[in-house]
Symmetry: C2
């Protein structure tokens, strides 16, 4: 990451929208994508934020992403839906899935919505957060197609799963609790940063191409290519089990075969639960407030300044960046300017 | 663990049934409990197996477990149910919940069934396994009431959650895939074994009462009492997030407040998904077969003999123990004999 400066989020949204319209996106889709990416950056999740704009634009130009492609429900019941995303932008199709899941869960108590032909969804927690903002308990699972299988099964040498994130969120009277995590020890994005900085990977996180533990990110990138271990260190069979669950929910439930080389990027599964018929909606939100207070009342351990619940730091970063702007390094800003130049798009002031 | 020998599972089931009938259980409930505990032992999960028989009998005599208590659906919709377990034996009420979840998921596609006043459910994976044997995708979450809160939030010093296990299972044409894991670095039961053996706990697994990392199990037991860290080591915020999810699903969705001191032991949440309306039932089972083959085709890493899917080793142990018997150490067998003597129960040959 080179030196950089901070940008007004509205300006980034406008630039993003213009870039995506220039590569063929309808205005409303371009706005959704720009909004989701800027929002991820506002929350501090930069690897899933504005840095992806140029990638999305390039993928659209290359035909990998198909702006404007119809998003169709292939089959549905009152509680379930299989959605063909047609390789449209991930944030566009994931938002549509959130709307379907919300409607079904409110009517039927529960909903499970899965995707086929889904592109990169960016920040998974955005979609569970939206379910929670609608008063629901939201769970999300995102697998990746075979070409992203860098993560080994427990005790294995060959990658068989992606970093397979899962997310959940619940409503409170304040910000929702939003958990968003990969099921591996480290993400490929973080490894890339460590390699560029010449720093080692954590112990137990990666293997070389022969399956030996290493902390050298270069051994992962090879050639020959190494692998990533599942979450858990000495109990990595747990992370492996979680990664498999994500594969099954995000991929197989929609009919995708794990070993096939399909054109999708992320398979998304949304599970939505209306707490109304269970704990009762208002009671449940009260219980979540209490959970936040009770868990947060744990004194910090030595070396830790406070105990926070999942997502709390992200919401704090968002408040801060709404004031100070979204920091972008010079390289990312340069890429955005170059893309604007190539596409004949005016960079907004 | 003292020296011991192996016992015929039928003999253990019979003894268990007699002991539980002697403490007031109806014959059918006693049979279910004995069957579940012997089954856990057959699968090698001894800490949740026959060793619990005497504990269950004692708890029933002390009024903590209430044999014969009615299991009532407090409220329900076509997709959801809240079940009051009345502090009856956990395996009895959990099996009833499996039946409810199966029926609802088959009719409505999805089901979520949660418990109030639930006792110890023993092997959580038994219930997702049963859902999978019924052709469903099963997920289960089991929280514990406040007195079991040994696990710290990430960066915390005071315990706020239990070891909060989760389980999932899916059907294949062979044995189902069955994952069953705690969301902490180690369970209390394993710490007890390590302490008794004078062996250290794994790195990053436990803290002393001041919140400092330690590998000395005695520092956990105190006094003053220490704590257990969430799954993940350097990324323990992930295990913390999973533990919170289990608390919310297993406890709060049924209306239980995490900070209250309620008489239940485990809050159980079962989620059942019929793959039929999604991938299609037969297609889905085929996809699971392929998943087993594809993941299992990863070459083992150095130091590992094979890659196996979750539950596979347990089913292998079961086959073995059906031949060789269930091994019990002398102390456990002695306790069973003593309980039989006290209750005037004949130990079957």
């Amino acid at each position: 990451m080179t030196a950089g400066r901070a940008f007004d989020p509205a300006r980034l949204r406008q630039l993003g929208t213009r870039l995506l319209v220039a590569v063929g996106a309808p205005e409303d889709e371009a706005q959704i994508v720009a909004e989701e990416l800027v929002e991820a950056s506002l929350m501090g999740l930069d690897s899933h934020g504005v840095i992806r704009l140029v990638q999305y634009a390039n993928d659209a130009r290359a035909g990998k992403i198909r702006p404007g492609a119809p998003v169709a429900i292939v089959r549905q019941t009152p509680t379930t839906a299989v959605v063909d995303c047609g390789l449209n932008f991930g944030p566009v199709t994931a938002r549509r899935m959130v709307a379907i899941a919300t409607e079904k869960a409110r009517a039927a108590g529960l909903a499970c919505v899965v995707s086929q032909n889904g592109q990169h969804v960016s920040r998974l927690g955005s979609y569970t957060q939206k379910l929670a903002e609608g008063g629901l308990v939201g769970l999300a699972f995102a697998n990746s197609s075979r070409h992203g299988h860098w993560v080994v099964p427990w005790g294995g040498r060959d990658g068989r799963l992606a970093t397979n994130p899962l997310s959940w969120a619940v409503p409170t009277h304040g910000d929702p609790i939003v958990m968003d995590m990969s099921t591996s020890m480290i993400s490929e994005g973080k490894l890339r940063v460590l390699r560029n900085q010449g720093r080692p990977a954590p112990v137990d996180a990666i293997q070389d191409a022969d399956g030996n533990a290493t902390t050298d990110p270069n051994q992962f990138y090879g050639p020959p290519r190494g692998t990533i271990r599942p979450l858990g260190g000495p109990v990595g069979y747990k992370g492996f089990g979680l990664g498999l669950l994500v594969e099954i929910m995000g991929g197989c439930l929609a009919g995708n075969r794990t070993s096939d080389d399909l054109p999708y990027v992320n398979g998304l599964c949304l599970l939505a639960i209306d707490p109304g018929p269970l704990a009762g909606g208002p009671s449940f939100v009260g219980l979540m407030d209490d959970l936040v207070a009770y868990v947060g009342s744990s004194r910090p351990a030595p070396g830790s300044s406070e105990v926070v619940l999942p997502g709390a730091l992200d919401f704090r970063t968002r408040q801060q960046r709404l004031q100070t702007g979204v920091p972008l390094d010079d390289e990312t800003w340069g890429q955005l300017q170059e893309a604007a130049r190539q596409l004949g798009v005016a960079v907004p002031d």
